[in-house]
Amino acid sequence: MIIAERKPMEEIKELVAPYKKVLVAGCGTCVTVCWAGGEKEVAILASQLRLARSAKGNGIVAIEATVERQCEREMVAEIKDKVAEADAVLSLACGSGVQTMAEMFEDKPVFPGVNTVFIGMPQGEGLWIEMCGGCGDCFLDRTGGVCPIVRCAKGLLNGPCGGTKRGGKCEIDPDKDCGWVLIYRRLEKQGRLDLMRNYYAPKNYRAVKRPGKIQAGKA
Amino acid sequence: MENKSVLVFGSGVSGVASALELANAGISVYLVEKEAVVGGHSASFCCKATDVCSRCSACVVLDKIKEAVAHPRIRVLTYSTIARLTGELGNFQVGIVKQPHHVDEQRCIACGVCTEVCPVNPKAIHPPSAEATPFSYVLDEGLCLRSKGEKCDVCRANCPTQAIEFALKPKEQELNVGAIIVATGFDVFDARMKGSLGYGRYSNVLTGLDLEQVFTREGRLRLGADGKEPRNIAFVQCVGSRDEGHGYCSQVCCKYAMKLAGLIKYQSPDTRVTIFYIDLQTAGKGFAQFYEKYKQSIRFVRGVPVEVLQTLPGELEVKFEDVSEGKVCRDTFDLVVLSVGISPGRNSWDLARILGINLTDEGFFDVRDSIGSNETNVDGVFVAGTCQGPKDIPGSISHGIAAASKAMQVLGQSASQRRGKQGSH
């Protein structure tokens, strides 16, 4: 799932500063699940904008709408009337949602209200961790299903750096697990530590040629 | 028709707990209370939370009372006592005497008109305490002009709901019930009996219960007309517990004293608090953390004071033997709180006679089988709460529920047995 987090308020305020009517557009899929851009966040942000602007004597009409998937043209089309009403759109969807919106309403300024941060998994209530970097060359078969590319702070392929501390925490953040310790423990549990002893040659970092594009095989 | 209703005598927290459980289980309950209000002692206890709940359970009592009085299967009879008992398990006839009182709690809407129009001062008719349930006005006969032979009728005439009545006699009624739960609670030990501790002589010697009420009334430890806050306080444990006349620990005093002390320290951290004790009772769920938190900021002295004397106005000298130091010491305080214990109810003896149940040497109701059970020597008569022995609020609630459980079980059995008997005839 795609994880995002709301942009700093200062930035958002500046983005919409010139506009009187702004559509705050949420997305009902990934960003709802990660508490960044679902209907609740739309309501909160819209409310905040109204409060901020009325305090400045520069009222704003914040229209609220949430579509099921903002990266689908057909679904975005459902709110086209609300878009038409607005001077600008503040999208709380991931980057692809924002771009879908922008592409469909070319004459409207569409701004991102969130930063799309990673592909991740919930680790508890309100807590998500990065799981996948979309590198196009999956390595998980060799690491017991723990991705060293994103779960190691340095993306190392041949084992941990020297910074592992406090029973397996990363050198950059005592709250984060060292990815390679996770890999070690998983492989140890499975009796497959040999995989970790193998040498892995430098990775193909160009497995996805930017801009990425794939065509599914015809059914 | 089987008689499935149960009479619960005493509406303190254990009685209320019994009544609620029975009612929730589909059994009709008469909740009989000799006083004007439901709830007993614990209904007037203050909240002792500091930055966190100190688990005194005072709020639980209010919850239960609220639920009970609103329960469709519970009939509350205030000002009432048991006068007679005949019959047997499954079919008791209980004679209830309702003492005359002048404000009908069913009709009083607490509008306050009566107090407004009452010509005497202080007013002879006044609101009950704020947390009272039912919230019905109270006429103080001693102050009322009618007690002086005058024919005042102002409040009755002005009452918008005709709730006031003067010419009242005790009313007697007979209730037919299947079982009886006695939950008459305790009396607070009368601290005047320990004359040397100065209670009743000095205005700044209070009991723990007095202190509870100060907090309930004021929200803070404010004393006297000027609302002064004491700065140096002593708590004296085991007043009316674990002594010659009381061969038991009251179980609640160490905890309420420490919790009140904690509350005082929380509200005014500079106030000094000393607790004089014999043995600290710190066992019990949820208390360990509290004790850990306050054991540094409260001064604990092993040894119970023998004498409290006023040296200067407002200043009390406490003479005690500090056991750990092995010497007699004196210290001065501006407030001494006596942690009075739980004594058997004054009326227990009479009630025991009426119901035919036994008392222990200490004067609590005796039970069969084992420590802490509910069954008395009379089938179908159960005891709940502190009338059986000292208990804290959760303990009283649990004991009350247990009594309900036992009553329900025997009612079910006696009904099926009777059915069985009828079948064999």
Binding site: A153, K154, G155, L156, L157, N158, G159, P160, C161, G162, G163, T164, K165, R166, G167, G168, E171, I172, D173, C178, W180, V181, I183, Y184, E188, L193, M196, R197, Y199, Y200, A201, P202, Y205 | -
Partner: protein, 297 residues
């Protein structure tokens, strides 16, 4: 001229290297001062590569200065700032200018440095880097193209005896050994037992590789606590922090030096390892004091 480090490693002597941290700026006089001070007192000077992810004068630049002043440089190469193209190019250059020793490192994370928003590269990791050096030695680049003139380095790498947990770290060290290294210098060691365990592990797998114990003197209890929190790969035991905090005010440096010297002496006397590597960045001028106290002058 200094003895080539590779030759030094072949002797049975207790090897001593010291770290030289490049300056922030283009003025190299201070670096030259340090080089002059140390070049004859130690077997090689080890030059950090944007150490702690703080941008500085390049490692390669200082290595050339060392060469110019008659010292023996060890070029540190991290994987953090350069992709495989840049690293290969640098190696060619270093080799052509007579820098013959290389220390292959992963590199600290960007997050600990002074350019926290920079893109960190890590196109290669340290094991791959060692393999790369061997590949280029054979006359080919990574893509398999022929080189007009290959490279030859005495190769070193690092290991962390105090990593917690240690096992994954040891697996990595094993991979480095397999890739082929001439020496291993450890991260700062404060517990001799940690080092012994580490050396024993290596010796079981490689009898020839030289092991240099890492020495980072700590000069105060506060600094120790700070390092424990913030410096990757370092964990200073409470025992040493206590010792430091008991030192009278103003004697912190002396105490730190004393502790470091004691450690070195122990390593040497108990033959725990083949030498030491002293990292006293920012206080390079104090290194001779340590050497003196440790009896290495």
């Amino acid at each position: 001229m200094a003895k080539p480090f590779r030759e030094t490693l072949k002797t049975k002597r207790f090897v001593v290297t010291a770290e030289v941290g490049p300056v922030k700026g283009s003025s190299v006089s201070k670096a030259i001062e340090h080089i002059e001070l140390l070049k004859d007192k130690v077997d090689a000077l080890n030059v950090t590569d944007n150490q702690s992810s703080v941008m500085r004068y390049p490692s390669l630049g200082v290595c050339l200065l060392i060469k110019e002043h008659g010292g023996e440089p060890i070029l540190q190469v991290t994987c953090r700032d350069r992709n495989r193209l840049a690293i290969q190019a640098d190696l060619l250059f270093a080799c052509s200018r007579g820098v013959n020793n290389i220390l292959c490192l992963t590199g600290d994370s960007i997050d600990v440095g002074d350019h926290k928003e920079a893109k960190q590269v890590f196109d290669l990791d340290s094991v791959q880097l060692i393999h790369l050096v061997h590949t280029m030695k054979s006359g080919k680049d990574m893509a398999g193209n022929e080189l007009d003139g290959g490279i030859d380095f005495c190769i070193g790498t690092t290991g962390t005896p105090s990593a917690d947990p240690l096992e994954p770290q040891l697996i990595k060290v094993e991979k480095k050994l397999k890739a082929g290294v001439d020496f291993i210098q450890t991260q700062a060691v404060y517990e001799l037992d940690d080092l012994k365990r580490f050396v024993e592990f290596i010796r079981k797998r490689d009898r020839k590789v030289k092991i240099l114990g890492g020495i980072v003197p700590v000069i105060g209890a506060k600094m120790a606590a700070y390092m424990n929190e913030n410096v990757p790969g370092i964990s200073i035991p409470q025992r040493i922090i206590d010792e430091l905090s008991q030192a009278p005010k103003g004697t912190g440096i002396a105490k730190g030096i004393e502790i470091a010297a004691r450690m070195i002496r122990q390593m040497k006397e108990e033959k725990v390892c083949d030498g030491v590597h002293i990292m006293f960045i920012g206080r390079e001028e104090k290194v001779p004091e340590i050497l003196g106290a440790a009896g290495l002058l």
